[in-house]
């Protein structure tokens, strides 16, 4: 499927066309004893072109599972994911993924890590260098290109991980708790940088986090998943323009509401934690 160029349709007039369409996705794992574990159940989500959508939910509810299915890294038990015009069947150039622990290769320099995808797709050297320069600048990494990941702070590593994905110019970007391993202040800075990049590039982002206020601060829309087997429990539109203030009344209120909804969900009588 990496053969040939994926033909991107000029879909100027059709704003209603979702960029990511998650249709009736189910995933049932088999645990060590062979028993089925229903992770996610009948998930339906449409994400518009250029939209920033966050998925939140309790730990272990199946957020990473859903992301990996959308990324083509994991096969669903049933259902379908469409990204752009194509059904997802394995990974693709159109879908970029940023991982939780940055997953930089420790044996490569920042530069080589960021260029990993371009080198694999045999992009000419000059073009690589030019793009590298742009993305080092965009991610505030200029001057660190010859460092190894072990010589960087957690925040720097995550920036390099994001640069490695964005430099490929994917149609949609999926991020799995990218800021969960960095300290609070760095996280706030990274969030603001992410907002700045999204405002500039207007690319579709599916962002996973367990930090509700992070989701509310970043997103156009927040989707709450219930505990396992998770379904879409609720959905919140955040109609606040960027740049946002973290103390914005509306944002604070909506955060409180989501937290309340989570607690309600977790306290539901049909508790699935004990099987």
């Amino acid at each position: 499927m990496s053969l040939g160029l994926s033909i991107r349709r000029q879909n100027k007039g059709c704003e209603t066309m979702p960029d990511i369409k998650i249709k009736n996705i189910n995933k049932t794992y088999t645990d060590a004893s062979g028993a089925p574990v229903e992770a996610i159940k009948d998930i339906n989500i449409d994400i518009k072109d250029g939209e920033f959508v966050s998925i939140v939910g309790p730990s272990g509810c199946g957020k990473s599972t859903l992301l990996e299915i959308v990324a083509g890294l994991l096969e669903q038990t049933s259902g379908e994911v469409i990204v752009g015009d194509d059904t997802v069947k394995g990974t693709s150039r159109d879908i970029g993924v940023v991982f939780q622990d940055s997953a930089l290769f420790p044996w490569k320099t920042v530069k080589k890590n960021i260029l990993y995808g371009l080198e694999l797709s045999k992009v000419p050297r000059e073009e690589q260098e030019e793009k590298l320069k742009n993305y080092l600048e965009l991610m505030n990494l200029t001057g660190f290109e010859d460092k190894y990941p072990s010589q960087l702070s957690g925040g720097m590593r995550q920036r390099a991980g994001i640069a490695r994905t964005l430099i490929m110019d994917p149609k949609v970007t999926l991020m799995d708790e990218p800021f969960s391993a960095v300290d609070h202040l760095t996280r706030c800075t990274l969030q603001e940088e992410l907002v700045r990049i999204h405002e500039k590039e207007k690319k579709t982002v599916l962002f996973i986090t367990h930090d509700i206020s992070e989701a509310v601060f970043l997103s156009d829309r927040v989707i709450l998943l219930s505990p396992r087997p998770s379904v879409v429990q609720n959905e919140y539109k955040i109609n606040v323009k960027h740049p946002r203030s973290r103390s914005d009344d509306y944002l604070v209120q909506i955060t409180a509401r989501i937290v309340a909804d989570i607690n309600r969900g977790a306290a539901a009588p049909e508790n699935d934690y004990i099987i």
Binding site: S2, E68, A71, L73, T91, S92, R93, I95, G96, V97, F99, Q100, D101, A103, F105, P106, W107, K108, Y116, G117, L120, S121, Y148, P149, S150, M168
Partner: protein, 259 residues
């Protein structure tokens, strides 16, 4: 690695260690020189040194030394190439592992010294039988460490390779092998030590040349000073060899390791 800035302090323990060693050497010296212990069983340190200088000066040692070194370099070099090469093949094509593993495991299970008689029948008592024995001593350790290292590659690195649409072969060379390097080098170090056992043993059993040959010759002549000298020499060679491998590893990996 020990930096130059961190100068080690000499502790009481160090002093005791040096004193113990000195006492042992002194005992050997006095016991042999006074005749309390026959010099067939023990050698005076001064005699060991004198013997060493002598066999170097009269040209006895060097040819044997070079032959052993050559056997090790060729046998170990082949084992490295085949061990890592096969490890890569198994990683790229798991079916080849499925097929070959049982045979490799079977050959590995044979105590190598037991097949020495066979090797001598096939390859003679010269260079070739030694090279083959060293090869057999070393190759499996290198192979299995490569394969184990490859299998321990972090899941998240493999996911990155997949997301960036690396082919199987690209994944092996850009992700799996680099992440397996520490394990590969562990294998190389272990194999180096066993390669020395292999060469000395086979030369002692049947050979016309090599350090092991000199050693068994010295023993039959009841020349204990020479036996002691050769044992020390073999030990030093082995330590230097293992250290050299660590240096290669350091040269390759130190830049990205956390120090």
């Amino acid at each position: 690695m020990e930096g130059k800035t961190k100068r080690k302090k000499i502790t009481i323990i160090n002093i005791l260690q040096i004193a113990t060693l000195a006492a042992l050497l002194l005992y050997m010296q006095i016991a042999v020189k006074t005749g309390a212990v026959s010099k067939v069983f023990l050698a005076a340190p001064t005699d060991i040194v004198r013997e060493g200088i002598e066999i170097i000066a009269d040209g006895t040692l060097i040819p044997h030394f070079l032959i052993s070194v050559e056997e090790i370099l060729v046998g170990y070099g082949l084992a490295t190439a085949v061990g890592i090469g096969l490890g890569i093949l198994w990683t790229i094509f798991p079916k080849t592992e499925e097929y070959a593993n049982v045979f490799c495991a079977a050959v590995m299970a044979i105590p190598k010294v037991a097949i020495l008689p066979l090797l001598i029948l096939w390859f003679g008592i010269g260079f070739l039988s030694k090279v083959v024995l060293i090869f057999l001593f070393a190759v499996f350790t290198i192979l299995y460490n490569t394969v184990t290292g490859a299998k321990q590659c972090k899941e998240s690195y493999l996911k990155v390779a997949k997301v960036f649409e690396a082919t199987n072969i690209e994944t092996v060379f850009t992700v799996i092998l680099p992440s397996a390097l520490p394990s590969v080098f562990n294998g190389l170090r272990l194999a180096a030590a066993t390669a020395f056992t292999g060469v000395v043993f086979s030369e002692m059993q049947s050979a016309k040349a090599g350090i092991g040959f000199l050693l068994s010759e010295a023993q039959s002549l009841l020349n204990s000073s020479r036996v002691f000298f050769l044992i020390i020499l073999i030990t030093v060679m082995s330590v230097v060899f293992v250290k050299a491998i660590s240096l290669v590893e350091y040269a390759i990996c130190h830049k990205w390791r956390r120090v």
